[in-house]
C-alpha cells in the first residue's frame, strides 16, 4: 500500500492561466466569425479550419493537460489523429479522381 491514495501528481493550472486560455479561445472564435464574412474564395475554408485547429490545440494542450503529460500519451494522441487523417485523406484518392 505504498502509493495508496497519493495525489495523482497532477500539474495544477492557475485560475488566471485558465482564464487566459479561455480569452484566447474567445478571440479565435471572433476571428473565425469575422474572417468568414470576407470572401476569400478557397482560403475561407483554410482559414476556418486553421483557426478551428488552433482552438483545438489550445483545448487539448492546456484544458486537457496534454502539455504536461508524458511523451507516450502525446504520441498516442498524435497517432490517433494521424489515423483519422489517413481515413479521410486516403478516401480522396477515390473521390478527387473520379471521372
Amino acid at each position: 500500500m505504498l502509493q495508496a491514495h497519493t495525489n495523482s501528481g497532477g500539474h495544477i493550472l492557475g485560475n488566471g492561466f485558465l482564464a487566459f486560455i479561455w480569452a484566447a479561445l474567445m478571440v479565435c472564435t471572433a476571428i473565425t466569425v469575422l474572417v468568414a464574412r470576407v470572401d476569400l474564395g478557397f482560403l475561407n475554408v483554410v482559414a476556418a479550419l486553421g483557426v478551428a485547429t488552433a482552438k483545438a490545440l489550445l483545448v487539448i494542450l492546456f484544458f486537457m493537460h496534454l502539455r504536461y503529460e508524458n511523451s507516450l500519451l502525446r504520441w498516442m494522441v498524435f497517432m490517433a489523429f494521424v489515423i483519422l487523417a489517413i481515413c479521410i485523406g486516403f478516401t480522396f484518392f477515390d473521390l478527387a479522381w473520379r471521372p
Binding site: 489515423i83 489517413i86 486516403f90 478516401t91 484518392f93 477515390d94 479522381w97 473520379r98 471521372p99
Partner: protein, 539 residues
Amino acid sequence: MHGNGTEDAGFWAPLGRGGLSSWIFSTDHKRIGLLYLALILAMFAAATVIGVVLRLKLMTPGNTLLGPQTYNALFTLHGVIMIFLVVIPSIPASFGNIIMPLQIGANDVSFPRLNLFSWWLYVLGAVLALVSIFTGSGAPDTGWTFYVPFSERTTTNVNVAVLAVFVLGFSSILTGLNFITTIHRLRAPGLTWNRLPLFVWSLYATAWIQVLATPILGITVLLIFAERVLHLGLFDPGRGGDPLLYQHLFWIYSHPAVYIMILPAMGVVSEIVPVFARKPIFGYKMIAFSSLAIAFAGSLVWAHHMFTSGMSDLAVLIFSFLTFVVAIPSAIKVFNWLSTLYKGSISVEPPLLYTLGFIFMFSVGGLTGLVLGSAGTDIHVHDTYFVVAHFHYVIFGGTGLGMFAAMHYWFPKVFGRGYDARRAAWAFWISFVGMNVLYMPMFVMGLQGMPRRYYDYLPQFARLQFVSTVGSWILVAGLTLMFGNLIAGIRNGRRVGANPWGAATLEWTLASPPPHHDFPQTPVVERGPYDFRGVSADD
C-alpha cells in the same frame, strides 16, 4: 505429487457463495476469459451447423432443401455470427484475458470491472443478434457486409442486427482499451519491451486496431440504422448520396478487422514454435515489430475490396500497391517461424501440429490474397468463390487453427489436466484434410466464375460443389473428435504439473490451474521469453 481437494482446483475452487454468480459477476481475468471461451465456442458451433446446412443445400444444383430467402438469411447469419461473435473476439477475449496478465506477471488487467462489463456487452450483442433472427419481418438477408442500398431497403430485421454489431464493437473496443493500458502499466519488474512474449506483442498491436478502427464500424452501422429510421439519404444515389462512401467506411474498419482476427493467432504461433523446437525464436525483434507494422499498414489498404465498384483508377492503383506492401511483414513472420524450426529439436505435440497447420493454411490464404489484391487479377475473381476460399483459408485455416493451437497449448495450464495426444493428432489431420477438401475446390470454382452468395449454380460446377460439401462433413468429423477429446480431458485427463511443455514464459511458473490470486509475490524477470536454458518439462 498432486493431492486432491481444493488446493489443486486453483481458480476453479468455489469463491464466495459459489455457483453461477461467482462466475458471471467475477472480475477475475481467468474466469472472464473462460466465460468468453465458452460463449465463443457455443457460437462457433451454431455458425458451423449453419455452414454445414448451406453446404448441404449447395451439394446439388436447383431448388433443394432450402428456399432462396432462407438461404440468404442463413449465409448472413453464418457471416455475422462467425465474424462478430466468434472470430473477432476469439483469441484476444478468451486466451488474451486468461493468459496475457499471467505472461506479464500481473494479477489482473488494469480495469477488471470494465473487463466484466465488456463480457456482458458481448452477451447483450449475442442476444440482440438472436432477437434479430426471430422478430420483425424475417432474419436479415444482406450478408454480413450490410451493403447499401440493399440494407436500407430490405424489409428484414436489419435494424436490430446492426445494433447488435454496434454493441459487439463496443465490447471489442473495451477489451482493446483494457489490454493497451494493462501492457503499458502492469508489466512485472524487469519485463522490458524486449522481453515481452510475442503473444503479448501481438495482442498489443491488435488492441490498437480494436481501439482505432472499431469506432468507424460503430458509426457506419449507426448510419444504416439512421438511414432506415430517419431516411437521411446519405448513401442514396437517388438523392445525391454515394453508396461507395458506405463501402469506404465499412472497409476502413473491416480490413483492419482481419488483422484483429489474424494477429493474435500469429502471436500464439510465435509462442508455440520455439517451445516445441527447443530453440529461441528466430528474429524476435522483427516479429514484434512486424505486428505493429501490420497494424499500421493494415489501416492503409481498405479499398482493395472495391476495385470493381467504380472507384477512381488512381485509388485502385494506390490501394493495390499498398496491399502488396502489407504482405511483407506477414511474410517476415512466416520466414521467422520456419527459421526457428530449422535445425530445432522438434517434438510434434498437438499444439505444434495445429501450428504447422496454421502456417500452411495461412500461406495459401495469404498468397491467394495477393491475387485478389492485385487489381488486374481481382477483376476476374472479384465476388467469386475464389474470395470465399481465400478468406476461409486465412480465417478458418489461420485464426481457427491458431485458436485450436492455443486451446491445446494452454489446456493443461487452464484445467490442470492433459488430454489424449494421439486422438488430438487424429482430430487435427481429419480437420486439416476436411478443410482443404472443403475450400480448395472453391478456388477452382472461383476461377471458373462461380459467384459467391448464389443460391443456385450451373451444372458445370456440380462436381466440385459436391466435393466441397463432402469436405464439410470430414471437417465436422474432425472438429467433433477434437472437442470430444478435449472435453474428455477436462473430465478425466491426467493431472499435470506447472510446466508440462517446458516453456519459459511466466504463466508456466504458476501452478496448473493458477490460483485465484495469480502471483503470490510479484515476479522479477531477468531473461527473455524464449530462453530455455535451465527450463525443462516437469513431468
